[in-house]
């Protein structure tokens, strides 16, 4: 069964450093998303991406965040200057349409 692949599975970074979280969506999907989940809390929407541009972003997705689809297969989330409160699980998802969301296994980001 096709999967969304995320790397790394765990990233530890110092506060103020830049991190790039990587995702390989399912190949025939057109819509891409990033969500995050702070430990023990709800899953929160960050951003959706379609046709090589952001289609929607949440208030969490401020100027420190950016997304990119640098080639035909990867979808990345960059956090420019990490803060302690950015520590969370970050999930990438893709879908061919509204239905059929598939999530990756997540990257656990720990900011120290």
């Amino acid at each position: 069964e096709p999967e969304v692949t995320q790397t790394p599975s765990h990233q530890v970074t110092q506060m103020g450093q830049e991190v790039i979280l990587r995702c390989v969506p399912i190949s025939n999907h057109l819509y891409f998303y990033w969500y995050r989940q702070i430990l023990g809390q709800k899953v929160e929407f960050l951003v959706s991406f379609y046709n090589n541009e952001i289609s929607e972003k949440s208030e969490i997705f401020d100027d420190q965040f950016s997304v990119e689809r640098p080639d035909g297969s990867n979808f990345t989330l960059k956090i420019r200057s990490t803060k302690l409160e950015d520590s969370a699980m970050y999930f990438c998802a893709s879908s061919p349409s509204l239905r059929g969301y598939t999530f990756g296994s997540g990257t656990r980001l720990t900011v120290v």
């Binding site: 969304v4 995320q6 819509y31 998303y33 969500y35 702070i38 430990l39 023990g40 809390q41 709800k42 899953v43 929160e44 929407f45 959706s48 289609s55 929607e56 949440s58 409160e85 999930f91 879908s95 509204l98 239905r99 059929g100 969301y101 598939t102 999530f103 990756g104 296994s105 997540g106």
Partner: protein
């Protein structure tokens, strides 16, 4: 400062019993709903979905019920198995809102053998 995790509602059932997990959704304009299962350390896994023009949908061992009058969604799992132990989330999509999912808090299901 230290963040405090929210206390998840917990449902504990005996293996073989039926489970019912409830969710109150937030927006009357939502027209699509999904149930996800999340096991520890893994990403959310799709279980079943339902559109707002339906009030019931059945899958394999699972049934989703939608009551739009009171904005309530439930997930029924028949003959619950130990492998069903996980956190279950409902998520909603507001009509026309570009496929963003709004997630509920989650319910932790513990299946006792």
């Amino acid at each position: 400062g230290e963040s405090v995790g929210l206390h998840l509602p917990t449902l504990s059932v005996q293996e073989g019993d039926n489970s019912i997990i409830n969710c109150a959704y937030s927006n009357s304009a939502s027209d699509y709903f999904i149930w996800y299962k999340q096991e520890s350390g893994k990403g959310p896994q799709f279980i079943i979905d339902i559109r707002s023009n339906m009030d019931k949908r059945q899958g394999q061992r699972v049934t989703v019920l939608l009551n739009k009058t009171v904005k309530h969604l439930s997930l029924q799992i028949a003959a619950t198995q130990p492998g069903d132990s996980a956190v279950y989330f409902c998520a909603e999509n507001i009509a026309g809102n570009n496929r963003k999912l709004i997630w509920g808090l989650g319910t932790s299901l513990a299946v006792n053998p």
